[in-house]
């Protein structure tokens, strides 16, 4: 187990380093923005005021509130301290709501939408890819062009087309929002049903995109493994086909898991745009509001949370990978 502990600690250290780096970038980049965000709100609030000293006073008050008048390093430490307490400050565009308040529900909508969708897409894609490699001919000839087409299709395009066909055209599912606009989020069957119907289109648009890419990857890995020497040798030994296939697909799975770890960032970014298209009340839509409202605390908080989600997903996948792949234990034990 010593080998695995070392692997785990390396990955943990790496997780912490990437997180700190991403955190610094998150803080620094929006604050380099030209133009003063506080001036924006002040001009909005002080509309029609002619008294310059009055406007000045308001400006001072807001600059104090958002802390933009302090040195950048001090702002950073204040920011770190606040974020550790789960406090992302006030939202500029939705003042006096706090960023944490705005994001609280959005996070859960996003987590509940994206991660099941990505995992379901990954599983279906891998099963189809493995089948294509094993069955070949007919199935492969149908599946491969579809997969290539799907994987190259932009995620937002898929979202728009599903929306138009099933939402606007056939009217099977609602076109926007996370639940009916006439409902209050309470625990009732009507509300749950509304959430389920609103969930379908964004969910399947993410799943379909994920299926294509994964199927292609799994197919080529499986073909590669099926032609490997150990398969031929096992056949000579007279080992049952079913058992060989078990080995083959387990070996082909391993690169697919690493592939998922690397692709999760891209998938999440595609899913964020899909959220915007369906006006799903998740982080993507919140991010869009932040950008439209020139609201840097909100943008920064969104990007921090998305980064945390992606990095954690990555970390979890790598930990699982270490448990599954025997080579890691062997390599670390040397």
């Amino acid at each position: 187990m010593k080998g695995y502990t070392k692997y785990f600690l390396t990955k943990l250290l790496w997780f912490v380093i990437t997180f700190v780096f991403a955190f610094i970038l998150n803080f620094a980049l929006p604050r380099l923005m030209p133009g003063d965000p506080v001036a924006g709100i002040v001009s909005h609030i002080a509309q029609g005021m002619t008294n310059t000293t009055g406007v000045q006073a308001i400006y001072q008050q807001y600059a104090n509130l958002f802390g933009t008048n302090r040195p950048i390093l001090e702002q950073f430490f204040i920011y770190v301290r606040n974020v550790l307490h789960g406090d992302f400050g006030f939202s500029i565009s939705q003042y006096p709501r706090t960023v944490a308040d705005t994001l609280k529900s959005a996070i859960w909508w996003t987590v509940c939408l994206q991660f099941p969708a990505i995992i379901v897409g990954w599983i279906i894609g891998n099963v189809l890819g493995a089948l294509a490699a094993y069955l070949k001919k007919g199935f492969d000839n149908v599946l491969m062009p579809i997969s290539i087409f799907l994987s190259n299709f932009p995620a937002f395009g898929m979202a728009i087309i599903l929306l138009v066909i099933f939402g606007v055209g056939l009217k099977w599912f609602p076109t926007s929002g996370g639940y009916g606009f006439d409902l209050i989020p309470i625990f009732s069957w009507k509300f749950i049903w509304s959430v389920i119907t609103h969930y379908q289109l964004p969910f399947w648009s993410i799943v379909l995109i994920a299926i294509g890419g994964q199927a292609i990857g799994m197919r080529s890995m499986s073909i590669y493994e099926l032609n490997a020497d150990y398969v031929k040798y096992s056949r000579f030994l007279g080992i049952k086909d079913r058992k060989i296939i078990g080995y083959v697909f387990r070996n082909a799975m391993l690169p697919q898991i690493t592939g998922l770890a690397l692709a999760i960032g891209t998938m999440v970014s595609g899913a964020l745009v899909a959220e915007i298209i369906f006006s799903y009340p998740g982080l993507g839509t919140t991010l869009l509001h932040g950008i439209l409202g020139q609201d840097y605390p909100l943008i920064s908080a969104c990007t921090v949370i998305i980064t945390i989600m992606v990095l954690s997903a990555n970390f979890i996948i790598e930990i699982l990978y270490g448990l599954i792949d025997p080579r890691i234990k062997a390599a670390q034990a040397d």
Binding site: A22, L25, I148, F153, P154, F156, G157, I160, G265, Y296
Partner: protein, 417 residues
């Protein structure tokens, strides 16, 4: 080299992808030669005009020769365009309520129906089962039917500037036709207009060109950085390798879209041109290439011919250029193709988020989609505003990936069928 190209052009997938991409490029290059107008010119007053041929009404009335065509179905078509099926059913309902037996009413026989209507309809007649709203509806329907069956022409009159009275200058008969090639102003809007009233087709062609340029610029930047870092890290190794790989892995795990959002937001709306966005995309997209190149270089580093070159005292640059680059060239080309297509997608994603290039100067595919979404073209059923854009983006990425798969099969024999 020649042999390699021959092999590449024997791959069906590569040829299909190459042809699609070249066809797109050709359209982008040739279209402006035929349609010579500013792609961002606002020509329509109003939003989302449907695709079709737009004929100037003024010019067709004043076309030099007027032709008389006696077509049997002209009147029927004219009536059909005014009198919908729902109206016919409504008329039938009223006539039945009026006491006319249902068997005598045939809503497909327009002339008979209108005759029956004209004889029987009386707005003052009190039918008790009709609501007031329904009664008003029938009055309006009746008014719209007035003159529908007449065969008189319409009179054209102009205002006399001296007396301010209308003077008849001509008559347009129902049998008058104008030849469309003689009408001075006919405009084909093959894809209608967008939310600003701009010709979507012209805009789309221009936007495709700009997006491909963005893809190329971003792809070149990303490939150069990735290639340079990959070569350095793979060939020189040691601490430099550790350092470069540390940075590469850092940027590989942090989602690219986050960096793109933060950087393009920080640049600010005013300074965001198409090429600034392309540069930003290029600067965030290199880690993939760097890693792939490094892996290739490491496997080449200890080959015999490289060692021989080292023993012969060649410089590092010479070894890299002459002994390593030719072996990884195919990988670099494949990575470059993928970089282009992913850069085009990134631009579109950024634009949908509202962080694309400024709208006022150039059009990109992403911006077109962004505006179509802002004006809810997808909900309103204005397919021409978003569908062609999605199709073009999909065609570009599809063709690029086909080329890539084709190359992969040529250079990677294990994947051949």
């Amino acid at each position: 080299m020649k042999h390699m190209l021959q092999q590449v052009f024997h791959s069906g997938k590569f040829i299909v992808g190459f042809c699609i991409f070249m066809a797109l490029l050709l359209i982008v290059l040739v279209y402006p030669l035929f349609v010579n107008e500013a792609p961002l010119a606002i020509i329509a007053e109003g939003t989302f005009f449907p695709p079709g041929i737009y004929v100037s009404i003024f010019d067709s009335i004043h076309s030099p020769t007027t032709y008389t065509l006696n077509l049997d179905d002209a009147a029927a078509k004219r009536i059909a365009s005014k009198l919908s099926n729902d109206d016919r059913i409504a008329m039938k309902d009223w006539l039945i309520l009026d006491g006319i037996p249902e068997a005598e009413i045939d809503i497909t026989d327009t002339a008979k129906l209108l005759d029956q209507w004209g004889e029987n309809y009386d707005p003052k007649k009190n039918i008790p089962s009709l609501t007031n709203a329904k009664r008003n509806f029938y009055a309006r329907l009746n008014a719209s039917l007035q003159g529908l069956m007449s065969s008189e022409g319409d009179i054209i009159a102009t205002q006399n500037p001296d007396t301010v009275t209308l003077e008849q200058t001509g008559v347009v008969n129902q049998t008058d036709y104008a030849n469309i090639s003689e009408v001075a102003n006919v405009r084909v809007l093959a894809l209608g207009t967008d939310n600003f009233g701009r010709d979507v087709l012209t805009e789309l062609v221009k936007a495709t060109g700009v997006s491909i340029q963005i893809g190329l610029v971003a792809g070149i930047i990303a490939t150069i950085i990735g290639l340079a870092l990959g070569l350095l890290s793979g060939y020189i190794g040691g601490q430099l390798d550790d350092f470069i790989m540390f940075i590469t892995n850092l940027f590989l795990v942090i989602p690219t879209i986050i960096l793109l959002i933060l950087i393009s937001f920080s640049i600010g709306q005013d300074k965001r041109g198409a090429f600034v966005i392309a540069t930003v995309i290029g600067l965030t997209a290199w880690p993939w290439t760097a890693r792939a190149v490094r892996a290739q270089v490491i496997s080449l580093r200890n080959r015999d011919h490289v060692n021989l070159s080292k023993l012969s005292g060649h410089s590092i640059i010479h070894i890299i250029v002459a002994d390593i680059l030719p072996y990884i060239a195919s990988y670099v080309v494949m990575a470059f193709i993928l970089q282009i297509s992913s850069a085009i997608l990134s631009e579109a994603q950024l634009s949908i988020l509202g962080l694309g290039p400024r709208t006022t100067e150039v059009m990109t595919l992403g911006l077109m989609l962004n505006w179509a979404l802002i004006y809810q073209a997808e909900i309103l059923g204005k397919w021409w505003a978003y569908l062609p854009v999605i199709v073009v983006i999909a065609l570009i990425t599809f063709s690029m990936n086909l080329m890539n798969t084709g190359l992969d099969q040529v250079f990677n024999p294990a994947l051949r069928d």
